[in-house]
């Protein structure tokens, strides 16, 4: 939840304090960060073709 920015400020601070006190938690957090980065960097953003956009605009204008 921390990595998803889903913790309140107070909970995030408490979480970070716990991380500092426990190196093994820190290792898990680093691994999870790497995993998220792996997903983000390896799922390519697809491109909509100009023809598709033109087709949509044409349909809208004739509606």
């Amino acid at each position: 939840m921390y990595l998803d920015n889903a913790l309140s400020n107070e909970d995030a601070t408490q979480f970070l304090n716990q991380m500092q006190d426990n190196p093994s938690f820190n290792k898990i957090l680093e691994k999870e960060q790497s995993f998220r980065k792996l997903i983000k960097n390896n799922v390519p953003r697809r491109k909509v073709s100009d023809d598709l956009i033109k087709g949509i605009m044409r349909k809208i204008s004739t509606d």
Partner: protein, 197 residues
């Protein structure tokens, strides 16, 4: 929601081009991972934009166009595409699992570990294939959270489930993905030394 004030054609076109069209690439990426086919993804994008335009009076200008469009696409996928392709609707077990999981610590005890060294062996194709092999509800939350950066609350609205369900579904889906990536990495020659000890 807006008070459904009547917009002129010029106003509608302006909202459409300025607020909706910039999300076309994000939508087709989501559409592709929902349908797993380029042609179906194109159909879904078209349907999403046509519906968005038809109901543009319901959209609050300047708010979260991306989340609104994603919700339309997800509904279009469930209501139209999945029915047309005659895929059976799967039972959503999340509520049952949530009930069973209640009170459990799902942060560490069920954490699926994935060695960082494995990442070096994995390329985009393997990651995409692993995501696409997950059940549609699982790949949906991963895409919405990890690729598109939606918050739990936004995802809950897009897929019509409680925030708690988003949280638990993400946790389970990421674990499933890690297991699949581990299999891919092992097929590519990576050996997890912990297994031999």
């Amino acid at each position: 929601m807006s008070d459904s004030k009547e917009l002129s054609k010029v106003e509608k076109d302006e909202i459409f081009e300025k607020e909706f069209l910039p999300h076309a690439d994000a939508l087709i990426t989501f559409g592709y991972h929902l349908t797993l086919f380029d042609s179906s993804a194109n159909d879904l994008v078209q349907e999403t934009y046509l519906k968005a335009y038809r109901f543009i009076d319901k959209y609050d200008v300047g708010t979260n166009a991306k989340a609104w469009l994603f919700k339309i696409m997800k509904n279009a996928f469930i209501n139209d595409y999945r029915k047309k392709s005659k895929q059976p609707t799967k039972i959503d077990y999340d509520e049952v699992v949530n009930f069973l999981d209640e009170g459990k610590d799902d942060t560490l005890s069920s954490y699926q570990d994935l060695r960082e060294e494995m990442f070096e062996n994995l390329m985009g194709d393997e990651v995409t294939n692993a995501i696409n092999s997950l059940p549609v509800d699982s790949r949906t939350v991963i895409l919405l959270c990890d690729i598109e950066g939606f918050s739990y609350e936004e995802i809950a609205k897009i897929i019509d489930v409680p925030v708690g369900t988003v949280r638990s579904r993400l946790h389970r889906s990421r674990n499933m993905l890690k297991k699949k990536l581990q299999v891919y990495a092992e097929e590519l020659g990576y050996k997890d030394k912990r297994k031999s000890t």
